[in-house]
Subunit: 249 residues, 2 copies
């Protein structure tokens, strides 16, 4: 008997924002490897499974990607049905691509179950559409924190005039804002940082671009958070109509 691996997106936090397919996969699982960003309430769909936490907890180091890959492969080779449960979507900054390559190399059968990504659903929970015809033709999702220390091309990102949604951007927020201002982005551009989006513990800070780092610091907002930068942020929980909007600089 040969096992297999499901790479499953758990969605942004709200346990009802997972898919039927994710619930089905969890119901089949004998083992679930779960990230910290996943709401524990979601594990109610797999009472039969052994749950292994593979994120940072209690001050421990994060489990290495190599260990996660080896564990998935070993369990599948033993005939286990493994669910690799990730926050958001497994293929948007979820390292799902890397895990799939490792599974392929080991000849393990796998299936990807896409999830609702935090970068869309978290702003949506505050009334912010990441795109809106009046404001922008698109949206860009980038990481603010990269392993190699390499920066995204902020100059080009500003020039696209797309909404910017930044994952893992809190640690380097001041630096990111400096880059965006240097690239010519309006210092009054509406921004929001949202911690624990879609959960009851949700907190957020909205400010103009120039004021965002200080505002985040004053409110002691922390990771994990989603940062949204763009005119669409002005739609957040606003009772005002489009033509009444005035963005404070």
């Amino acid at each position: 008997m040969k096992g297999m691996v499901y790479l499953v997106g758990a969605g942004p936090g709200d346990p009802d924002l997972i898919t039927l397919k994710a619930v089905q996969a969890l119901g089949l699982a004998s083992v679930v490897l779960v990230d910290d960003l996943v709401n524990p309430a979601i594990l109610a769909h797999c009472p039969q499974a052994r749950v292994i936490h593979v994120g940072k907890r209690g001050g421990c180091e994060s489990t290495s990607q190599h260990f996660i890959n080896r564990t998935m492969i070993s369990l599948a080779e033993l005939g286990q049905v493994v669910v690799r449960l990730k926050g958001g979507d497994p293929f948007l900054f979820g390292r799902g691509g890397e895990e799939v390559l490792a599974l392929k190399a080991a000849g393990i059968a796998y299936q990807v179950v896409s999830g609702v990504t935090s970068g869309i659903a978290v702003p949506a929970s505050l009334g912010i559409p990441v795109t809106h015809r009046t404001y922008t033709h698109g949206v860009t999702f980038v990481t603010g924190h990269t392993q190699d220390g390499h920066q995204p091309n902020w100059q080009a990102l500003v020039a696209t005039q797309t909404t910017l949604v930044i994952y893992m951007g809190m640690k380097h927020l001041a630096e990111i804002v400096r880059h965006l201002l240097a690239a010519g982005m309006d210092k009054g551009m509406p921004c929001i940082a949202i911690q624990h989006g879609t959960l009851q513990t949700e907190r957020h800070v909205s400010a103009s671009l120039a004021h965002l780092p200080l505002a985040v610091k004053q409110e002691r907002l922390a990771s994990p958070a989603i940062i949204v930068i763009g005119e669409v942020v002005s739609l957040a929980n606003s009772e005002r109509l489009l033509d009444e909007l005035e963005i404070a600089a």
Copy 2:
């Protein structure tokens, strides 16, 4: 008794890629206003509801946004629970932002139920992660077809070096490719166009950037389709490991 409106994402096509929250909203609905891009199988979750199709069908003109807004508002004012069911996610090129503004202006209670977006899930169904640390720091979602005829800044989009995911890009594909080549994108950049992604009727064409328009024409691929442009496309259904990848120019 006051009605309300749920703006619900139906996901990319596969009926199991909707959320538990979407199913709950459909179960509460007395009326469902549904777009054409939504898989009819999803309506099995609302047998009690009256279903109104508001997309292009049988050669008819697309229902105007104004009519959709007025219908939602009138029904909610009559005390109906309205679900506005959209393909993918309601806040990513879904005009959900516009519908929310209309509902707010009319004083109608509403809730947004985020969905799995086609731009991530459709490439994922062919093994393509829209981001991968080795290739890119991000992904940009843009529309290839805009009401005002205004073009995205292709030059800047190329400079970002993010994966490009283009919605509604089939009609102007040749023009988009010309812009990307003029902006300096490698003519050998891996591309894929995917029609009816995540469904059994799925068809796709992969080609280098320069060859994509001809390949799409030869295979008679049509709308609705998702176009993905970037190195990550080389991961599609590939059995090869990272270090073995060679992109044909």
